[in-house]
Symmetry: C2
Subunit: 377 residues, 2 copies
Amino acid sequence: MNEQAAAGNQTTVKVGLGERSYDIVIGPGILRDAGNRLARVLPGARAAVVTDETVAGFHLDTLKTALDNAGVGHEVITVPPGEKSKSFEHLQEVVDGILAARLERADVVIALGGGVVGDLAGFASGIVRRGMNFVQIPTSLLAQVDSSVGGKTGINSTHGKNLIGVFHQPKLVIADSALLDTLTPREFRAGYAEVAKYGLINQPDFFGWLEKSWEDIFAGGPARVEAIARSCQSKADIVERDERESGERALLNLGHTFGHALETATGYDSKRLVHGEAVSIGMVMAHRFSARMNLASVDDAQRVEAHLREVGLPTRVSDIRGELPDEETLLSYIAQDKKVSRGALTFILTNGIGRSFIARDVPASEVLSFLRENRPQ
Amino acid sequence: MNEQAAAGNQTTVKVGLGERSYDIVIGPGILRDAGNRLARVLPGARAAVVTDETVAGFHLDTLKTALDNAGVGHEVITVPPGEKSKSFEHLQEVVDGILAARLERADVVIALGGGVVGDLAGFASGIVRRGMNFVQIPTSLLAQVDSSVGGKTGINSTHGKNLIGVFHQPKLVIADSALLDTLTPREFRAGYAEVAKYGLINQPDFFGWLEKSWEDIFAGGPARVEAIARSCQSKADIVERDERESGERALLNLGHTFGHALETATGYDSKRLVHGEAVSIGMVMAHRFSARMNLASVDDAQRVEAHLREVGLPTRVSDIRGELPDEETLLSYIAQDKKVSRGALTFILTNGIGRSFIARDVPASEVLSFLRENRPQ
Ligand SMILES: NC(=O)c1ccc[n+]([C@@H]2O[C@H](COP(=O)([O-])OP(=O)(O)OC[C@H]3O[C@@H](n4cnc5c(N)ncnc54)[C@H](O)[C@@H]3O)[C@@H](O)[C@H]2O)c1
Ligand SMILES: NC(=O)c1ccc[n+]([C@@H]2O[C@H](COP(=O)([O-])OP(=O)(O)OC[C@H]3O[C@@H](n4cnc5c(N)ncnc54)[C@H](O)[C@@H]3O)[C@@H](O)[C@H]2O)c1
Ligand SMILES: [Zn+2]
Ligand SMILES: [Zn+2]
């Protein structure tokens, strides 16, 4: 189903989902050609560009020029940066903006930003007129390797992260790897956690390559494009086999059950913790919890932690600044997480690097003991 | 694909949509058995019942008892009656209620009410955890013959009706025809407009039968069950061929383009106009506009108007009490309607009773002239 077609330093990953198939185009500088690319996929469409204030400051002009050059009429809807924009209030704002621009179903909503903008704009495009065209232009590493691929969209609830949303596939993903040069090092690292995740799920070779190549990926150039493409390919392979997460797709949640609980615990306060950092800590916890259950070796857990720590990611709950709720409360956040099925706790555990699996019926008592053993002193 | 299976005075209409197929069970008194029926389709599911205050007063206890008897745990979420509940505010309230009840994807949201509750609860169930199970228990005639079938859900925007929503099919529809006895005559009539619509779309025989049988339908008994079943069958046939309204399904909008504009014009004020009344006026306008364009005979338009007037429905813009905006404004409401494609006006027009068709590129100027000729004096 999938193939990678290299053209110069561009790569295309195809996501094969029947009539919902689409291309992910990856390469440095391709934002400048975004208008033409979009017009080829959706001829005649007008656009609403959804972005956040930070990304707008760096890259909106380039996109606007690209759209103008291709004759694509557009309006811009800007939200504040940060996870708090994944709320009902901002959803309503974006939906109203799209309707006020009088876009029709054949027109398009473009997300220019990180995972927050992608999830929010994707959700809005999925519910305006019961589903409009949608194009992702991810600008963070996390969004380029993860959130822009696969069609999950949504917002947060006070009851937990991403609890409200729809599946709505984009028609095209344009991942300009040079845009990542304006990302803060901290945000780049956070996105890198999701890159490492693909290695840890089912590709030990890729994880080994990352251990050797991570500095080149951070520096930019061909290794960065390759890391993004291999990540997108990994995700596409899984999504093609299980678009609506009735099974295997749950593997992509490696590190996320613990991670989401930590994000809830820190009130989505990006000063304390961003999503990729939570995933980094969560992945290490998943490996250490697996080792504790005698499912994986302690060595593998240590190797995972060592690599994530080397690139500068937090790996322990104790790396989070400030107060955290007690372990019972953390467990209650885990139990509300959407990977819970009929009261049994479902976790992604592992038999070692690249050997993750879906574990249903994990005893809550074991999780609680593990959390308590790891209480920051 | 479809069949009607009669069992006593119950009828089942099957909606054949592959893995999204479901039954519509129709008959007097079947609410009392709703718990068992639900438990057969969704064993082990817990429920959130969404209803409105009026319907709760009449029928909630019967449903609660039925659920209790079948061992189905449930919470109740009540919204105010009326179109104004199809808003972002109430959507958020219902979504929060479902999450607060800690329902999972395998649990179920039940809509007990008219089209408003069905559209709102259906939308909420379509976005909580990116899609939960949903069961419709329609309590108005309109909901039993139209809104509970076919998977359209949504809320209104200040920019127009039903502009925000998702396609989300129910797992089961339970239409207890005896519940309609508590409906006001005015609401019953409004629902009847949608029954007549099926005859006018493509079943002249059915329309003829309605002209003869309408008093029996209003009185209750076998003619009522038959009218509901034939309506559901009509809608199911169309939805099976075009689930996501890329073509033929638009026929179901007969009368709705004019109708929605009138609803917007009266600010969704149910004292002045309810949905079915707007559709009644809209269907007469569609027939008269078709006659004016020499597409249909004036006789047919008069026959449609005569029948709707006989049952007590409004048929003219002048039947609406109070001030209305001018024709340019009405036209702008029509143009924002979601059946507009790339600026061309799309209407459902007709060649006569039971011979409706989708007309694209209807000149806005003709519509404006027609509206002006019909200005209430
Ligand atoms: N839909 C999915 O499948 C999926 C998968 C993973 C994560 N997510 C979601 O993604 C979100 C996290 O994504 P994120 O880390 O991109 O968050 P984000 O969108 O908040 O971006 C992080 C920060 O980087 C800034 N930024 C983005 N691109 C930039 C650039 N090129 N230059 C300078 N600054 C830039 C943003 O303004 C923001 O402040 C979470 O809400 C998470 O739930 C969704
Ligand atoms: N989703 C679709 O495909 C679709 C199709 C047609 C209409 N609709 C929508 O349906 C809505 C109109 O539906 P409606 O006419 O049922 O409106 P409604 O839900 O507001 O019900 C009308 C009134 O009747 C009351 N009521 C309902 N059942 C009753 C009963 N058994 N006894 C006493 N009172 C009862 C309600 O409380 C309300 O006051 C509109 O919002 C329209 O857009 C949707
Ligand atoms: Zn993630
Ligand atoms: Zn209707």
